[in-house]
Symmetry: C2
Subunit: 222 residues, 2 copies
DNA sequence: TGCTTAATTTGAATGTCATTCATTTTTGAA
DNA sequence: TTCAAAAATGAATGACATTCAAATTAAGCA
């Protein structure tokens, strides 16, 4: 009984904090994906999360810190959804190819992503951190299988993250046509040591549909 | 005599404006490369250029606008210096390889560049705009010569710009070792359709020294 | 040379936040 | 119920980027 009594009150605070943190991440996501990271104000985020303006700072060191958490959450959600689908592929190289394409399509088609694209080093690093464990695994597997020829999977994926955001920005701004998605995938596959022909073939394989956003219950957003 | 008389007073304003503009770009470069773009204040830049704080805005729309001009100037200076050296290469692919390596080394070794690296989409686009004419020419020549196999030189170089900044940022932050420069060059050459072996060989060729910064008189800085 | 208008420059004032911090509120044990 | 500690609050602070009314300068004209 003693443990139960001490556990309950202790849990209250922890639970509220968890709820507040969750509410802040969600509010941050909503406001930032509507207005962009810079134009989002801490005031509005705090109000939407129903906490005082100062409270945000007992959960996050700064606005940028919150933005990083928000972005990593979005990316992890996408990474997990991708990961539920790729087991259908026989070719290990296709795991990576599909991941790249999916990120590019999300970044250029989803209106909520567009606002987040500026501050590209923040979002590129969020992709790297959240999707990296999956992507680097795929790169290494495909290299072991002899499909890719790379020596440093981490560096390779880092380059791919930044390049992807660069392409996505230009497609969003209509400097590049939407068809640049295909060519970007081809180039990033070439970067892994595939020939132009191999890369083109791999990039043109059909893509399975992704499970819906909210299917990732552990990492819900929206 | 008439033309001389009207030319003189007219020239006075124009001359002063040219001087002011130059002074502002130079001051912007000095302050931004010392403190970083965000921490540089318009007040300090104006003071260093010896104009009123408001005057900056009759030359540049905003702080970011000034930053873009400053960065493009730095990049153009480097591009021109690179261009004076590459005629010594027989292989057209080497033009591009040397350019990529030189940018990476400048970005990671020069203390003044480090501060400019954050705001990566600004600097990546500055590289693209200033060095693009040279780099895209090199990419297309090397493709015609059968060394590279790409279909869209502009897109390819855009990806390379963002990837380069991503690598430079991590090397600067010591997340990646300086040796990542070599591997980045190799990967970005593979991206152009070279095999791993071809890319490694090309990346390892000796590099000639660059002419000094101030040798580019048309585009002087510092 | 002096007069006049248009263009340019000026820097103090404005407005917008991110962040801080003195108070207030809540918590949980006694 | 009482109390000390922890958390939350939101008004106040400070730091700029940008604006704008006033001052200065330029240059055509008599």
């Amino acid at each position: 009984m003693e443990t139960l009594e001490t556990a309950q009150p202790r849990g209250r605070v922890a639970l509220r904090q968890e709820r507040n943190r969750e509410a802040l991440v969600l509010a941050g996501y909503k406001v930032m994906s509507k207005k962009g990271i810079d134009a989002a104000t801490m005031q509005e985020i705090a109000e939407l999360a129903d906490v005082g303006a100062g409270t945000v700072y007992s959960y996050f060191k700064s606005k940028d810190d919150l933005a990083v958490v928000v972005l990593e959450r979005v990316m992890l959600n996408l990474a997990i959804r991708i990961d539920t689908v790729i087991f259908t592929f026989a070719d290990p190289a296709q795991y990576y190819a599909f991941g790249i394409r999916t990120v590019l399509e999300a970044a250029t088609r989803d209106r909520r992503w567009k606002q987040l694209l500026y501050r590209s080093e923040v979002i590129a690093n969020a992709i790297y951190n959240s999707m990296g464990p999956f992507a680097i695994r795929d790169l290494e597997n495909a290299t072991k299988a002899g499909r890719f020829k790379i020596t440093d999977a981490k560096l390779t994926f880092k380059l791919a993250c930044f390049a992807t955001i660069g392409a996505a920005l230009d497609i969003t701004k209509r400097v590049l046509p939407p068809s640049a998605i295909d060519e970007t995938v081809v180039r990033l596959l070439c970067m892994n040591g595939l020939s132009q022909e191999e890369a083109t073939e791999l990039a043109s394989r059909p893509c399975p549909p992704l499970p819906p956003e909210n299917s990732v219950t552990e990492h819900k957003l929206k």
